[in-house]
């Protein structure tokens, strides 16, 4: 009996030679100083206030990554960051007795998955928390939508947020790969800590509705003596139903030496849009935001152009079919104004589709008392729109690398139509507002200079917004084409990266937002310029 058990054990336990265990990680510090920003109070940790001038980040990070593979058939990977904020949250005496309030931290799990290789001939499965990055462009990938983005660090230009997924890759021959991914639960994008600025004030920027007349009416109401002083923003998260799951397919391979792929994604955009506003009698407003659905058809091609000294090129495009998103606007009514003593009640505002005039209905405690004879304001039209990245890279000599991309549709842009910006002068109600195309055009370019056998890297990246072409449709069906009211805006991102010794790196740099307050990168909701010092040790 003992012999049988021993033989069974030997058969079932993989030989030590078949087990591949790797443990690696990083210890990292990131200190940043904010310049010329608009102050914003953060709720947590309370000591981390974003001052006009002040330290905005004081992170320490310990990363641990464990990879365990068995006999080239199975691999399990875990990747966790322990991030210490470096600021306290000691708002009261009780907090002073709690270590987690004196030294707040968070855990970020970037991977927790199991790979199963060759489950069937050519078929691999990956199940668990993972990131799936599609596309051939650098960082700006309109076809990569399975993971929403983490916008909390502008230096990363949107890092994919890991999510629980089931992924199947079928590789029948060569480099042809067919991929299917299922994501049961939607994870929203993580917004920058300055993002609430965009929604917390009703008077700093108009509601992002598309109709000019409707927008003006809502704006004037917000600026009037009855407009809200305080705005609270709530979210309507998608329910964990099958209807709200996401899925995607991709087919990729090589044709005439060029890498090509086609993809389809069904899911939601990671940044929420306003769905409803309720204006209360005490001049507070509650805003409800939700995540719009979308279907995306993607295609990309990448390769090398030999006659141009081997320049690398890529083209990545996504045709997005969004769900139409409308804004419902309600105004609480005094009980004495409620018809038939049906209290509480509120007034719903819509607009006449022909004249643009406001029309009102009434909603009682049990539903509509009078349905307004009009349409709700459209925030995101169902018009399909294109996002595109075209780029290339080149080496000059052996020490200089140049990368350049044209981008139609930045990572946070969604929907056809008009984008609204905050006022140039926040305290002047008569400041003219600026609008431009919601899907903007940008040039992103960078240069790397490698010195001292790659020990020193000088890097400069820049983003510049280009003038957008706007199309206005006249009542008679003709169109006017004109450039937007253009104001320069962009980002400058210089860095000096010194590999002090093996696996050790010191980085000094700056991230500068350029442009007026009423421009995309000058908008205080996007963030403020920062200087930074980072130190990284990899093990």
């Amino acid at each position: 009996m003992k012999r049988i058990l021993l033989i069974a054990l030997m058969v079932s336990t993989p030989a030590l030679a078949d087990v591949d265990l790797k443990f690696s990680g990083m210890i990292y510090s990131d200190i940043r100083y904010r310049l010329a920003g608009e102050p914003i109070n953060l709720s947590y940790p309370s000591q981390q206030q974003l001052l006009g001038y002040g330290f905005s980040r004081n992170d320490n990070l310990i990363k641990g990554r464990l990879s365990l593979g068995i006999a080239d058939r199975v691999k399990a990977v875990g990747d966790v960051d322990l991030v210490l904020y470096g600021f306290s949250d000691a708002k009261d005496i009780d907090a002073l007795t709690l270590h987690e309030r004196i030294d707040p931290y968070r855990l970020e799990v970037h991977a927790a998955y199991v790979d199963l290789y060759r489950v069937l001939p050519g078929l691999d499965l990956r199940i668990g928390r993972q990131t799936v990055v599609w596309g051939v462009a650098d960082q700006f990938n309109p076809t990569s939508n399975l993971n929403t983005l983490d916008f909390s660090d502008p230096l990363l230009f949107g890092r994919a947020l890991a999510n629980n997924m089931v992924r199947a890759d079928y590789n029948p021959k060569g480099d042809w790969i067919f991929t299917a991914v299922f994501v049961p639960i939607f994870r929203p994008a993580e917004l920058p800590r300055t993002a609430p600025i965009a929604l917390n004030s009703a008077t700093d920027r108009p509601a992002p509705v598309q109709d000019d007349q409707q927008r003006l009416f809502l704006w004037n109401t917000a600026l009037s003596p009855i407009g809200p002083n305080t705005v609270n923003v709530f979210t309507q998260q998608p329910e964990p139903s099958l209807a709200n799951a996401q899925f995607a397919f991709r087919a990729g391979g090589r044709v005439f030496g060029q890498d090509v792929s086609l993809s389809y994604y069904h899911g939601r955009f990671g940044i929420p849009s306003p769905l409803a506003t309720v204006n209360h009698l005490d001049r507070t407003a509650d805003v409800l935001v939700g995540w719009p659905r979308m279907d995306v058809l993607g295609a990309d091609v990448a390769g090398s152009i030999t006659p141009l000294a081997g320049m690398g090129y890529w083209v990545e495009g996504a045709l997005v079919f969004p769900q139409q998103t409308e804004l419902s606007v309600y105004n609480d009514l005094a009980n004495t104004s409620c018809p038939g003593n049906q209290t509480p009640c509120r007034q719903e505002l819509r607009f006449d589709p022909f004249t643009g005039s406001p029309v009102f209905g009434t909603v009682g405690p049990n539903g509509y008392l009078r349905v307004p004879d009009g349409v709700r304001s459209t925030v995101i039209p169902s018009t399909p729109f294109l996002k595109l990245t075209i780029g290339g890279d080149m080496s000059i000599g052996s020490h200089v690398y140049v990368n350049f991309q044209y981008i139609h549709g930045f990572i946070d842009e969604f929907g056809a139509g008009t984008a609204v910006h905050p006022r140039l002068h926040p305290n002047d109600p008569y400041t003219a507002l600026r609008f431009d195309g919601r899907i903007g055009d940008y040039i992103v370019a960078g240069v790397d200079v490698h010195l001292f056998s790659d020990r020193l890297l000088g890097r400069l990246f820049a983003v510049a917004k280009l003038p957008s072409i706007l199309y206005d449709t006249n009542p008679d069906g003709t169109s006017n084409v004109h450039f937007e009211d253009y104001k320069f805006t962009g980002v400058l991102f210089p860095q000096l990266i010194w590999s002090v010794w093996e696996a050790t790196e010191l980085t000094l740099g700056a991230f500068l937002f350029l442009g007026g307050r009423d421009t995309k990168f000058g908008d205080p909701a996007a963030g403020a310029s920062e200087l930074f010092l980072k130190c990284k040790f990899t093990y």
Partner: protein, 246 residues
């Protein structure tokens, strides 16, 4: 009769007179295996320094495909390169979610990890497909061949001078030159032995690169082990293979 033919072919190989014949022997010898796996340690020295920065990697070769996987130091561990011939190169980027990035062939102009090893030295492919040879003589037990890059072909060094060993038919020394014939980089190799698993393929146990344009900056590559004909599957040399191995 068979013996006479055999003797004639050996004699012919040792006394190949035309540059084309030498190049053909060289290309045959370089690819005289089904597959090859090398464990390498590269040390990059600053001019005058006694110690240098160490990078370790595993290289697998099959046909015109080559897969390089970095095993150290920690900041590059897990990165990989997959090349097919001279014109197709992919990089595996663990820091970007294990994304595979197609590289333009201009990347061959960049130095390999800050070393003096030209990226194109890592790519596969036959010399005869990219260079026009000229036999300039012999030196010791080596043929000396000058190569000129063919029009329309990409390469960081338009001219090269090779010393091809008459016994192993492998390169024991290379001078990498610009189009004016000025020597920019010199490669010398030593410790040639037959690989484990092969009776015909030779590999060096050490290679030294000296960059004359950088004040004789030096890189050495030592091969801890070279194994041939291990039965590597074609699956290994695909983009999926590049991702799986990390």
């Amino acid at each position: 009769m068979k013996k006479i033919l055999l003797l004639l072919s050996i004699a012919g190989a040792a006394h190949a007179q035309s540059a084309g014949e030498v190049l053909k022997l060289l290309d045959q010898a370089r690819h005289d295996f089904n597959d090859l796996t090398l464990e390498s340690k590269m040390t990059i020295y600053e001019p005058g320094a006694a110690t240098g920065r160490v990078v370790t990697f595993t290289t697998m070769v099959k046909g015109d495909k080559r897969l390089i996987r970095f095993t150290g130091p920690p900041d590059v561990r897990g990165m990989g390169l997959l090349t097919e011939g001279r014109d197709t190169m992919y990089a595996l980027l663990p820091a970007f979610g294990n994304r595979i990035r197609r590289m333009g062939t201009h990347a061959k102009n960049q130095s390999f990890m800050g070393s003096d090893v030209p990226n194109e030295d890592l790519a596969g492919g036959n010399y005869a497909d990219a260079f026009t040879p000229k036999l300039v003589g012999t030196e010791g037990n080596s043929w000396v061949v000058e190569l000129t890059l063919m029009p329309g072909k990409e390469g960081a060094f338009p001219k090269q001078k090779l010393w091809v060993d008459k016994t192993s038919h492998q390169i024991v020394k290379t001078e990498f030159m610009n189009d004016k014939g000025e020597s920019l980089l010199t490669m010398t190799s030593g410790g040639w032995v037959k690989d484990d698993g092969s009776s015909t393929h030779w590999s060096p146990r050490s290679i030294t690169y000296v960059d004359h344009a950088r004040n004789d900056h030096k890189t050495t590559v030592e091969m801890a082990s070279v194994k041939a004909n291990q039965g590597l599957s074609d699956d290994v040399f695909t983009q999926r293979g590049l991702q799986r191995g990390n």
